[in-house]
């Protein structure tokens, strides 16, 4: 098995490989974390120059048809890039902006694709799940009142795409109140307050966009666990205790195998979710499986990575801890494992 999320089509495989290759400039598999550490716990918590490069590479709107300003690629390609982003712990809000674009579709302002403007999606009001129609009420003249919570990197928004039960609305930030909370990964989440806030209604449905974001989040988690595992394997192969490499202890060998299995299952499940999404409909059960597996596997792998590093793994200085923090930060985003399990049960109940 190689690292790609194998589609059967050989041309597409080739395209995927090139895409992953191209990601190296932004999200290197073997880079250090100096840039990330410099950005941690600052605002906006990422780098607008890198953002411009991301835009130049065509990552933004990659799933939109070419006639709508996108690259016409599929979920497999999106997931492959998200995996590379995860392996590099990329702090830029690539998945969130993509979610806003997927929500707005053809109505997406071109400045977004160019990276000149950042539109973030505000959809959540509950701390868990994919529910998007709470929190904000649409009043007369399309004015928004209420609040949306947990917007990753919200302080960076130039405008905000708000999902409501009456559709999607685009609002300028100057009339939106904002509060931020620092997160474990060094980024932040914002609460957006709307008080009779003027906004422009847009065509669009947040539902499929949220499904895609969920799978992208799972793919990012896959990258997180892959890299955490690689770093740990390397540690097992260099660290000595009791006059031998710790990687020669059978208990750690078998544990590493258990983690590898979880990583490979996650990859396979994400691939199936991508194929289902690319295929059109009824992908929700596959999406929920992907997110459940990815969240649990990422927590397991990063936890065990700390354990296998021993005391050094418990210092903030050791890079391995950045992976645990990232899993902790985004593991429940777009619905926790327990939320997706419940959704899966509800979706499949009628089939029993």
């Amino acid at each position: 098995m190689n690292d790609a999320l194998h589609p059967d089509d050989l041309d597409r495989q080739q395209q995927l490989r090139m895409l992953i290759e191209s990601a190296k400039g932004i999200a290197p598999r073997h880079g250090d974390f100096t840039r990330l550490r410099g950005l941690r716990f600052s605002q906006p918590g990422f780098d607008r120059d890198v953002w411009t490069r991301i835009a130049e590479m065509g990552w933004l709107g990659l799933r939109l048809p070419e006639n709508a300003g996108g690259a016409g690629l599929g979920m497999l390609e999106y997931a492959a890039l998200a995996t590379e982003a995860g392996a590099a712990l990329l702090p830029e809000p690539f998945i969130e902006v993509q979610l806003a674009i997927d929500m707005m579709g053809a109505a997406t302002p071109p400045s977004v694709f160019a990276g000149d403007e950042i539109i973030l999606p505000a959809w959540a009001s509950d701390p868990d799940g994919l529910g998007f129609d709470g929190g904000v009420i649409v009043g007369r003249g399309g004015r928004l009142s209420g609040e949306k919570r947990f917007v990753p990197m919200g302080a960076a928004a130039d405008r905000v795409a708000v999902a409501t039960n009456a559709g999607i609305f685009l609002a300028a930030m100057d009339q939106v109140g904002i509060q931020t909370l620092p997160l474990q990964d060094g980024g932040h989440a914002a609460t957006f307050h709307f008080e009779c806030c003027p906004a422009t209604p847009l065509e669009g449905d947040p539902r499929p966009a949220l499904e895609a974001a969920t799978v992208a989040n799972a793919a990012y988690l896959l990258g997180v666990m892959e890299r955490a595992f690689d770093i740990t394997l390397e540690y097992l192969g260099t660290r000595r205790q009791f006059d031998r490499l710790i990687g020669s202890f059978q208990v750690l060998q078998h544990r590493a195998v258990d983690l590898k299995i979880q990583i490979e299952i996650t990859r396979a499940v994400i691939r199936d979710a991508c194929v289902a999404l690319d295929g059109g409909n009824d992908a929700q059960t596959a999406v929920s499986r992907a997110k459940t597996r990815a969240a649990e596997a990422a927590m397991l792998v990063t936890r065990q990575a700390i354990q296998m590093h021993g005391a050094i793994g418990y210092t903030d200085e050791a890079d391995i801890g950045l992976f645990l923090r990232k899993a902790l930060t985004i593991g429940n985003r777009y619905g926790s494992a327990s939320w997706h399990r419940a959704r899966h049960a509800a979706l499949t109940e009628r089939d029993m």
């Binding site: 098995m1 394997l233 990687g247 060998q253 590493a256 590898k260 396979a268 399990r341 499949t348």
Partner: protein, 392 residues
């Protein structure tokens, strides 16, 4: 309904996969004896003779053999479909060592005479084969086997003991790994022999397993004298001959088949007990369904490799490791919910398709046979992850 009815011995490789699948499915439905679907235990040849002969007549008994030797000569991807359709319909596994092991091995390493004598007799069902590999003191360390074959004039004389010979009581012939040189590394002094089980000095005794079934046998060899042409391949090449045979078939050790059956069993038991509405049980079933679907995704990633014609690496062991865990977890839950029914030696009196204890017991060996999960993890650690081999 497939477009064509296949004639016996047709070459089905040129068909598109979907059509091939439809044909296989239809033919199995038409020809497989209904009462043998999803048997609770491994079939003896006497129970499965009818099906064996139907396959034989159709020319479908040996999907993996080349067509010139009487097989179907299926590509890996078609073979995968064939197996999937059999599993789907609940087709029992036959005593198939002749088809899966002996045939391919004779085709590659046998003499012309060996091929001409044996291949047709396997295909007709005249000779049923069994395997003599494992030994009581070798276990997972198969290469440390101690059965000896000594040259005596034109004959070979075999002494020793084999164990875990599947369906040994059904077999006419046996193939055996035996040590022919004790002065070299343990893998290098082993040869491959074939002989009838009626050869004087061979004694086969069934072993009753925990499921109270005589699936396995012990085989004793006491001065068993067999002619020179009983060896297959070169002297001392038995280990590499036997080992190389397993190639992409290793994917089947991780096929979701058994877990699907167990989860279905569990769902029917839950329904029988009227416990489907208990939230904890509903949640448990849902979790297991998700895990099974995930395993199917995992299986598919290896099956895709097979379909693309790529060789499987040592990482395929991960598939079997994961399946063992899942399959056994499902049957653990069967016991958990079965209440007093878990204790019963027989199927439930009021629904004989429910048999909790047997489901549980049958799942046990999955993590032991075909390379225990511990051995598989050693292999993956070493060959996939490159972790040091201080530990065997």
């Amino acid at each position: 309904m497939p477009a064509i009815q296949p004639s016996p011995h047709d070459d089905l490789n040129p068909l598109p996969d979907q059509e091939f699948r439809a044909i296989i499915r239809h033919w199995i439905q038409e020809n497989y004896p209904e009462h043998l679907r999803n048997p609770q235990r491994r079939l003896h040849i006497s129970d499965g003779r009818e099906w064996y002969e139907a396959l034989s007549r159709q020319g479908w008994l040996a999907p993996n053999w080349p067509r010139e030797h009487g097989g179907m000569g299926l590509s890996p991807s078609k073979l995968l479909i064939m197996i999937e359709e059999q599993e789907r319909h609940g087709v029992a596994r036959l005593p198939d060592q002749g088809i899966t092991m002996v045939g391919p091995l004779l085709i590659r390493h046998g003499t012309e005479m060996q091929r001409q004598h044996h291949l047709p007799r396997i295909l007709s069902g005249e000779i049923i084969w069994c395997q003599g590999y494992s030994e009581p003191n070798a276990g997972s360390d198969l290469a440390s086997l101690q059965t000896r074959a000594m040259r005596d004039g034109d004959d070979w004389v075999i002494n020793g003991q084999k164990i875990w010979t599947t369906l040994g009581m059904d077999a006419d012939w046996i193939y055996v790994l035996a040590r022919t040189d004790t002065h070299v590394a343990k893998q290098k002094g082993i040869s491959f022999f074939i002989m009838p089980v009626t050869a004087p000095g061979i004694e086969i005794r069934p072993i009753r397993n925990l499921d109270m079934h005589d699936e396995f046998c012990e085989v004793f060899f006491r001065d068993v004298r067999i002619p020179a042409e009983s060896i297959v391949g070169a002297i001392n090449s038995g280990w590499s001959i036997a080992k190389n045979l397993l190639s992409f078939e290793r994917i089947f050790l991780g096929s979701p088949f058994q877990a699907i059956g167990a989860l279905d069993h569990m769902a029917r038991l839950v329904e029988h007990l009227g416990r489907g509405s208990e939230p904890r049980i509903a949640a448990m079933l849902n979790e297991l369904r998700m895990e099974l679907a995930d395993h199917q995704s995992f299986y598919k990633s290896f099956a895709d490799q097979v379909r693309r014609g790529e060789p499987l690496g040592p990482d395929v062991s991960m598939l079997k490791i994961n399946l063992s865990v899942l399959y056994q977890r499902i049957t653990d839950h069967i016991i958990e919910i079965a209440g007093e029914h878990a204790a019963i030696l027989e199927p439930l009196p009021d629904d004989r398709s429910l048999y909790p204890a047997s489901a549980f017991i049958q799942a046990r060996p999955h993590s032991i046979y075909g390379g225990s999960s511990e051995i598989q993890k050693n292999i993956v650690a070493k060959q996939v992850l490159g972790l040091g081999d201080n530990i065997a």
